[in-house]
């Protein structure tokens, strides 16, 4: 369900563990707040449909 709200606190905790990023208790609430803010700001991007053959434009030159 696209509209089902994720458990952001758990997501942050688990992703931080997977990445090896310790988040001190005093920072945790604000990390969660910023993650929630990101979910909101990213929404217009996530709603866009892109063609399968659309490639990004990397600059890397071998």
């Amino acid at each position: 369900m696209a509209d089902e709200k994720p458990d952001v606190a758990r997501l942050v905790d688990e992703a931080a563990k997977a990445l090896g990023l310790p988040i001190a208790p005093e920072y945790r609430a604000n990390v969660i707040l910023n993650y929630e803010r990101s979910l909101m700001i990213a929404r217009p991007l996530l709603e866009v449909d892109l063609d399968d053959d659309l490639m990004s434009g990397p600059v890397f030159r071998p």
């Binding site: 990101s38 700001i41 990213a42 659309l54």
Partner: protein, 465 residues
């Protein structure tokens, strides 16, 4: 049109061009200019707080060399300062942080510092900035905020806050900043100055501390369009040390700066760029459009998604750059950046890839708009300078965080690397605000010509220092 009177080259309102002409013409010594500059900085800093490092001995030595006949060039004797994410030989590259001060000292100046000095300019110091450039406010918990010289209870804008504040206070006529999502354009708007964010890849970023490789740009802030063009021309050219630096030949903009706007098709950005701001932001665009005779509106399609994609790429790339420091020294970050970097590094990789793919899609659609217009006008900031310490602001009747939203109108433009000049409008009895003059890639010249026209007409101007 009368020719404006030349400022005293020793005064705080003198432009880079005026200083260089005065020195080249033997009317004043570079040593006297540097002496006056250092005195002004000492007098202003207790209130403005634009500088974190002053390289007085180096500047005095270089001025003496110039007076002895060395280092001739179009910027001869012009004092300038750089956001402290530029390498300055012998100093740690702070990038607004406390952490980097413990790192190595730069062994060489950044590429653009070298290019300006090759053209005769004189570096006088490093400038305050939001930590690691993740900022639109100019505030910094380690070094204090750079204050807006128009009203020192207000934000300078960021993250090139010291760059805007130093030029607006008349400490230096020219400063370099960086702009990832708006960090040259926001302080230019809030401090009432001309700023140039060139095309992505146009100016070398070698020897600067990165924030978001995909969008990082460097460029000048000044009191006149002539100074933007003069410094931009001196900094152009391929640099193998920056992998995205273009190998297109330099295209000098100064010779054509005064050609006016004949033949340029100017349009106004509609839709996204007409809402979510305070009335003064849109009034400024209307004033500029009227002066240019622009009536046509164009839509940059999916600008809201572009802003979202810019946000996602910024959060993830920025977070990734700082991951080692977030693991080992989180307590030494500015509290206003730390948790944003932490959240960013945890965002899904799928978002990042989609944002990068969308970037190419959006670029193609916006370039179609530029087949029908040479210049597009848009607000630079959604409001005038907020109060220092202000966390939330009301935009279009909605309460929004200041930090994330001062760049609402700049993010969808730098996202695809378009060149932009900010033209400042002084508002009698009010604070200044800027308008973005946006051109297609590599057409900085058109944007500069439009800004110069507005300056000549008296529509855009830097305030008296």
């Amino acid at each position: 049109m009368s020719v404006p009177a030349m400022s005293d080259p020793l005064s705080k309102s003198a432009t880079a061009t005026e200083i260089a002409h005065a020195i080249a013409g033997g009317k004043v010594k570079a040593a006297a200019v540097i002496d006056a500059t250092l005195q002004r900085i000492a007098a202003s800093e207790p209130t403005i707080n634009a500088f974190t490092d002053i390289v007085a001995e180096r500047a005095i030595r270089r001025a003496a060399e110039i007076d002895a006949g060395k280092h001739r060039g179009p910027l001869m004797g012009v004092p300038f300062a750089v956001k402290n994410l530029f390498d300055i030989e012998g100093l740690p590259t702070r990038a607004g942080s406390k952490i980097n001060v413990d790192g190595p000292k730069a062994v060489r100046d950044g590429a653009l510092v070298r290019r300006l000095e090759d053209a005769g300019a004189i570096l006088v110091g490093g400038l305050n900035m939001g930590e690691y450039a993740y900022d639109f406010t100019g505030e910094n918990s380690h070094y204090g905020p750079s204050r807006n010289p128009r009203d020192t209870t207000r934000m300078s804008g960021g993250s090139s806050g010291g760059s805007g504040a130093a030029v607006a206070a008349g400490e230096v006529p020219l400063a370099l900043g960086s702009d990832t999502n708006g960090s040259i354009r926001v302080p230019s708007s809030l401090c009432g100055l001309f700023g140039l964010k060139p095309t992505y890849g146009r100016l070398s970023r070698a020897g600067s501390f990165p924030f978001v490789d995909s969008f990082d740009h460097l460029g000048p802030i000044a009191r006149s369009t002539e100074d933007l063009a003069l410094s931009f021309d001196a900094m152009q050219g391929w640099d193998p040390d920056d992998p995205v630096c273009t190998d297109r030949p330099a295209e000098p903009t100064l010779p054509r700066l005064g050609e006016g706007i004949d033949g340029l098709r100017v349009a106004i950005a509609g839709d996204y760029f007409t809402r979510g701001g305070e009335p003064e932001a849109f009034e400024a665009v209307a004033t500029v459009a009227k002066a240019l005779g622009a009536t046509r509106t164009v839509v940059l399609p999916e600008a809201a998604a572009a802003r979202a994609a810019a946000y996602v790429i910024t959060a993830i790339e920025g977070g990734q750059v700082h991951l080692p420091r977030l693991r080992t020294r989180p307590q030494d970050f500015d509290p206003d950046t730390r948790e944003r970097f932490m959240a960013g590094v945890l965002l899904p990789g799928a978002w990042y890839v989609k944002a990068q793919r969308f970037r190419r899609h959006y670029r193609a659609n916006v370039l179609k708009v530029f087949e029908e217009a040479d210049i597009v006008l848009a607000p630079a900031t959604p409001c005038t300078a907020p109060n220092l310490g202000q966390v939330m602001m009301k935009l279009g009747g909605v309460d929004l965080p200041v930090r994330a939203n001062l760049g609402l109108f700049t993010q969808p433009i730098s996202f695809i690397g378009l060149p932009v000049v900010v033209a400042p409008l002084q508002r009698p009895g009010g604070l200044p605000i800027g308008v973005q003059i946006i051109a297609k890639p590599y057409n900085e010249q058109a944007a500069l010509r439009v800004a110069a026209f507005l300056e000549k007409q008296g529509v855009a101007a830097a305030p008296p220092a």
